[in-house]
Amino acid sequence: MIEVEGLHKRYGAVAAVDGVSFVAPDGQITGLLGANGAGKTTTLGMICGVVKPDAGTIRLDGAAAATIEMRRRLGALPDHQGIYSRLTARENIRFFGQLHGLSGAGLEDRVQAAVSLLGLVAIADRRTAGFSQGERMKVALARALVHDPPNLLLDEPTNGLDVPTVRTLRRLLEDLRARGTCIVFSSHVMEEVSALCDTVVILAGGRVVAAGHPHEICRGTACASLDDAFMRLSNAEEVPVWLPRT
């Protein structure tokens, strides 16, 4: 479970994140929805520990997340997947497994399990230079899952992917949710968020402007679709902010 309370982050005069709070429970997919610059990536960066919050708390499975040890309970797929092109897919995944403290037969078992889970068996021992966008995403996701983390953060995971790969990813996320994994993912693809998320947190200007099940948000904003609700909530001048569910 990921609990975020009163997160603030400024870059100079710009408040990138301004008092963001939400809870992402185990066994659920929580979507962070927002336009570009809404604060999604900065929020995820603070949860992962690569961006230091100016204020606020982050708890991971009940403990403070700002420790190196707690990162073992987290798998993360940043917006740019950044895999090593001169290493094979298996070597990429193994390297991250080692950094998460795995070794020996246990490491190899976990690497093989991640390779199988993501359907990478046929290309696991090929260098990743020349991999398609979808193949690179799968390697990056396998790398994030190699240590079997109870919490998973994905930053716009479907960007640039073709339809079959998006479907594979959706199935995988549904399987992980069924196994009790806490999943937080950011996106601006409404269809994806509506289809997958149990809870949606909408960010605008670094603040939470709505939170709840997609249907609740649609009802609360009197909109027919999440798309419309998002547009109204993202533009604070157009309508008053719909208060998040507590």
Partner: protein
């Protein structure tokens, strides 16, 4: 289970060994000095009475520069290259500290730096043994011992400076430009001291200056090992921690993930 910095160093070494163009370029730079000295020694002017002195000066500068050559490409690749390819952020999201990351990458850069130094010194020793005037041959063993004690630690310092400068650069192109300027430090100091030798003094334990003094002294038949060389080695290796600490701060900055 290996420590995080060892895991990172091992990965960087395996990764960089597959970059054949970079390895070829490093080897070419490391062997450029011996090749030039060989050509000079084979030329008719190479038999001139004054030529051994000039060749000694050339060798010392080439050896000095080689300490900065070997770690340069890998430092660019593992710091600014990773930043440009956005693979640094996923690495920092794992349970490792920025210190682990910096030390791991520095260890890898140092190993390639030491490899280039070894190649350079081996090349110079072979050139001396094969084709140089007889007066220089006796200095070959001394050159090797000075290299280990004086130049080895300078390689560690060079690698740490390269890791810092590459870490401060946003792109590989920017890092390449900045590191070319770093490479000028041993070149200019070395060349200056060839033409304006300085006497022994406290500066003989100052990195780069000290190395130039001891290589020059060694090539001219000085003692193989002496206390100032050991002190110089320790001071130089100790100085390597300063850029590493600064690089650690660079990797702790928020803008890497922004």
């Amino acid at each position: 289970m290996a420590a995080a910095h060892v895991i990172i160093a091992r990965k960087e070494i395996v990764d960089h060994l597959r970059d054949r163009r970079s390895l070829a370029s490093t080897a070419a730079y490391a062997l450029m000095g011996p090749a030039i000295v060989m050509l000079v020694s084979l030329s008719p002017e190479g038999q001139d009475k004054e030529m051994p002195v000039i060749m000694l000066g050339m060798m010392s500068v080439f050896a000095l520069v080689s300490t900065f050559v070997g770690g340069m490409n890998i430092a660019i690749d593992v710091m600014s290259g990773e930043r440009e390819r956005r693979s640094l952020v996923p690495l920092l999201m794992t349970p490792v500290t920025p210190r682990d990351v910096v030390i791991g990458k520095w260890m890898a850069a140092s190993i390639f730096g030491l490899g280039a130094l070894g190649l350079n010194v081996a090349g110079l020793v072979i050139v001396l043994a094969l084709g140089a005037p007889a007066t220089l041959v006796t200095h070959a063993a001394l050159l090797a011992s000075w290299a280990i004690l004086g130049l080895g630690p300078l390689t560690l310092l060079g690698a740490s400076l390269e890791i810092l400068v590459a870490g401060l650069s946003r792109t590989m192109k920017e890092a390449g430009t900045s590191l070319t300027l770093v490479l000028f430090a041993p070149m200019i100091i070395g060349m200056f001291m060839v033409f304006f030798p300085v006497p022994d003094g406290w500066w003989s334990v100052v990195p780069i200056v000290g190395q130039q003094i001891v290589i020059d002294a060694g090539l001219r038949g000085g003692p193989a090992v002496s206390l100032p060389v050991v002190v110089l080695g320790l001071v130089t290796a100790g100085c390597a921690w300063v850029p590493l600490a600064a690089a650690e701060r660079v990797l702790s900055r928020d803008d890497l993930a922004a």
